[in-house]
Subunit: 214 residues, 2 copies
Amino acid sequence: MVKRVSDAVKRRLPRYYRRLLSLDEAGTESVSSKELGALLGLTASQVRQDFNLFGGFGHQGYGYPVNKLREALEEILGLKRAWKMVVVGAGNIGRALAGYGYLGGDAFRVEALFDVDPAVIGTQVHGLTVKSADEMVSFINENNIDIAILTVPQEVANKVAHLISSSAVGAILNFAPVKLDAQENGPIIESIHIIDTLMSLTYQLSAKNITKPR
Amino acid sequence: MVKRVSDAVKRRLPRYYRRLLSLDEAGTESVSSKELGALLGLTASQVRQDFNLFGGFGHQGYGYPVNKLREALEEILGLKRAWKMVVVGAGNIGRALAGYGYLGGDAFRVEALFDVDPAVIGTQVHGLTVKSADEMVSFINENNIDIAILTVPQEVANKVAHLISSSAVGAILNFAPVKLDAQENGPIIESIHIIDTLMSLTYQLSAKNITKPR
DNA sequence: TAGATTGTTAATCGATTAACAATC
DNA sequence: TAGATTGTTAATCGATTAACAATC
């Protein structure tokens, strides 16, 4: 009954959720596929196709009940429970993410922060004491960590990712600007390449200047 | 002669570039579309199609000259010049990005960091003195800033984005978890929604457990 | 009821993959 | 030369859009 969920849909689900959350908080009772599509830059068809992958949430002539759909998405996205995370690498980005609180909610919790630098180990970051990377794998396993956020320098990213993959962690969120080698039966990997997005901007800015100089 | 570059290609260009850079630094002279595709998880066809959008860089029977292709991508992506940036919002992520240095290179430079909090204004972050948001637009215009990195709380993100759009900035890199309203003839906007990527992970972790419990 | 809007099938569009002649 | 690999056209695949009967 459950159809295949494409990557494109997978990426849209959080966007639907965020918007439905804000509609719900604003007290909106229902929303049509057309309205929601307009808010997100999608067609009404696309919205309906997407929601129908997970079941019929709408009512003809009425639209979708905001609260009910929000709840359903919360369930689908796994936001009804808390997820335990560790941050690996206490550099700029790592330290920033260690203070991460989810939109006022509590789905994501950073339980520990690791580094290899003796000068950094033992220091306090957002109420956490930086731990030695030597303790990482055992900490992940003993504390049932779900997600490891990888913010180490690119030179060692794959080495550290391998180490993480030897633990029981479920997923890695990678911020290093390298492609991590996927492991057979290893953690799910998603990457955020900030530098790629910056380059995409400079590409567009450069291309723009060719056709339409400012 | 230049064909339309799809969003999918636009997102692959930085990945090609990063890989070619590391191949070049490793002294590799040539790479075939098959080899490069394998390194990036793409088909050889796709690699050849992509490069052919920008001209014939390859040689039959030989492949692509790494250094020449890297140079070409550097040109295409606009990395031969420096881009001036400001960070708007001196919170966790903003402060982290203010210390941003590009992969040892010098294409991206953070020139200033702005905030509205009087307690933060005037403090030092990575060698920069946090400036008042009141000075932002004039600073952007007087210093020919190319890119504004937006790291303010979501509640004010669109308001601040509007303000930024009233300046001469070319692009906004948005980290706030909201969709920014696109402006007619306004800056190019790209967003990095960290929370969306986390939700995509928990979706996958949840879906995984339904079919294959651990 | 009449109007609105869904769920779902069919049509379209675009991106990816395959194929292969050209040629280094 | 023979083998390898490109550039490019054609085929396939999948995602998006359109259409419309069902129905609230």
